[in-house]
Symmetry: C2
Subunit: 246 residues, 2 copies
């Protein structure tokens, strides 16, 4: 490995600067170029004002990763930023897939607080026991696969954390997901949503599965569907682990 | 709420100081008392040398949470530390369950990098698509529930991230888990383990499901069982999202 050819794939956490790890900050500060999706570059730019940054639009993931790898291959220290954790629906996988074309570039993942954890902290403790993380985006995954995963997770009484619950083209996907879970869980099952985790206008709400089914959410929302033990208490969503004497 | 009665439940990340979020550091620095399991207190003590800390042994979770709530109720600013994220098998749930006895104490969760994400960064990108997080500890969960969850996750072709894969009393649990997954996935399915994530002696290994089945691991290990798309490449474990033209 050529020590000068280094690419970091950095999870910046939910969005708030303070929720980045110290390692992520150090790595970005020492990078010569930061590459990322426009929205994430805009989030970090104020905190690294003198840094060269390159923003690429959504849906251009392959191109974005190639730019990062090519720039690193030129001998620059490059960071690719992702929101949340770089390894959960982030660019870590795609970078490693493309990396074989740039064998001299050393790649290091810098993990961050993923939305499942960032949003859970806002709601209380919804994923304090076994849970499944499922994206409703069918851009890269067949809808049948997504629906089978929802079905199995509900059947196994796992809490389900949903990423990408909606978009303009997929306005009814969350309703379909709720209908699948409703085959196995009661309509009163405790659910929660968090919008704009760690960003301006952060908001959250605890509700029942029945109410969630009729809700319109956007792509900045993370959704939690509880299991049969999940409770709502003082406005918080709690999935107990089962400690006795409580 | 009494502003002076505040309890933070803080995820300190995998263990390495640099992998804490800036918010976690600020909160611990401003706390008057830090409470936690002995191992986690030992991890952070060198970085907060002047801070009053209270360590309680494992299996004393209810007592530990009560101490933290009682001290906060006296008007002190208290932090309860958890490894990884405070909301993933952490103390967030138990604190909220007990909190109703201390209605004046305001509680805030401070999320961190959970082992699933910290370990994934070491292995490459094993959880870059839908995944289930399942603990093999049957101290608080019936074994049938755990086995049903493993079964459903494997059936749905989800990556499985296993916490608490073993202990002295549960030496063969990982083997049993692998046998369940082997009903649905090939013996060549790519798996990985990471030991001591972000701590001294961190080590990792990528292997097949068949090899994982015959492995002895300890409680400091996080295990990843890939799905049918997971690949091993240049020593890394990658679950692709399915971008085209790669």
């Amino acid at each position: 490995m050529n020590q000068n050819k280094k690419l970091y794939v950095v999870g910046i956490g939910p969005g708030e600067y303070e929720q980045m790890t110290m390692k992520a900050v150090r790595v970005l500060e020492s990078s010569q170029l930061i590459v990322g999706y426009t929205v994430y570059i805009d989030l970090i730019r104020p905190h690294f004002p003198d840094k060269e940054m390159m923003a690429t639009p959504m849906m251009k993931e392959v191109e974005r990763c190639r730019i990062a790898l090519q720039e690193a291959d030129k001998g620059r220290m490059v960071s690719m930023v992702c929101s949340g954790d770089s390894g959960v629906y982030g660019m870590a996988g795609l970078i490693l897939e493309l990396a074989k074309e740039y064998p001299e570039v050393e790649i290091e993942m810098v993990p961050g607080v993923t939305a499942a954890c960032g949003g859970a902290a806002v709601l209380g403790a919804p994923i304090c026991h076994d849970f499944a993380v499922i994206s409703l985006s069918d851009l890269l995954t067949p809808m049948e696969t997504i629906e089978r995963r929802l079905e199995c997770a509900a059947q196994a009484d796992m809490v389900i954390c949903i990423y990408n619950p909606s978009s303009r083209k997929r306005a009814d996907y969350l309703r379909r997901a709720c209908d699948i879970v409703l085959k196995y869980q009661r309509p009163e099952t405790v659910c929660g949503i968090v919008r704009n985790i760690g960003r301006d206008g952060e908001s959250s709400r605890v509700m029942t599965l029945e109410e969630l089914r009729d809700l319109q959410v956007d792509m900045f929302t993370t959704v939690y569907i509880g299991n049969s033990s999940t409770r709502a208490e003082r406005g918080k969503m709690i999935t107990p682990r089962g400690y006795e004497h409580v």
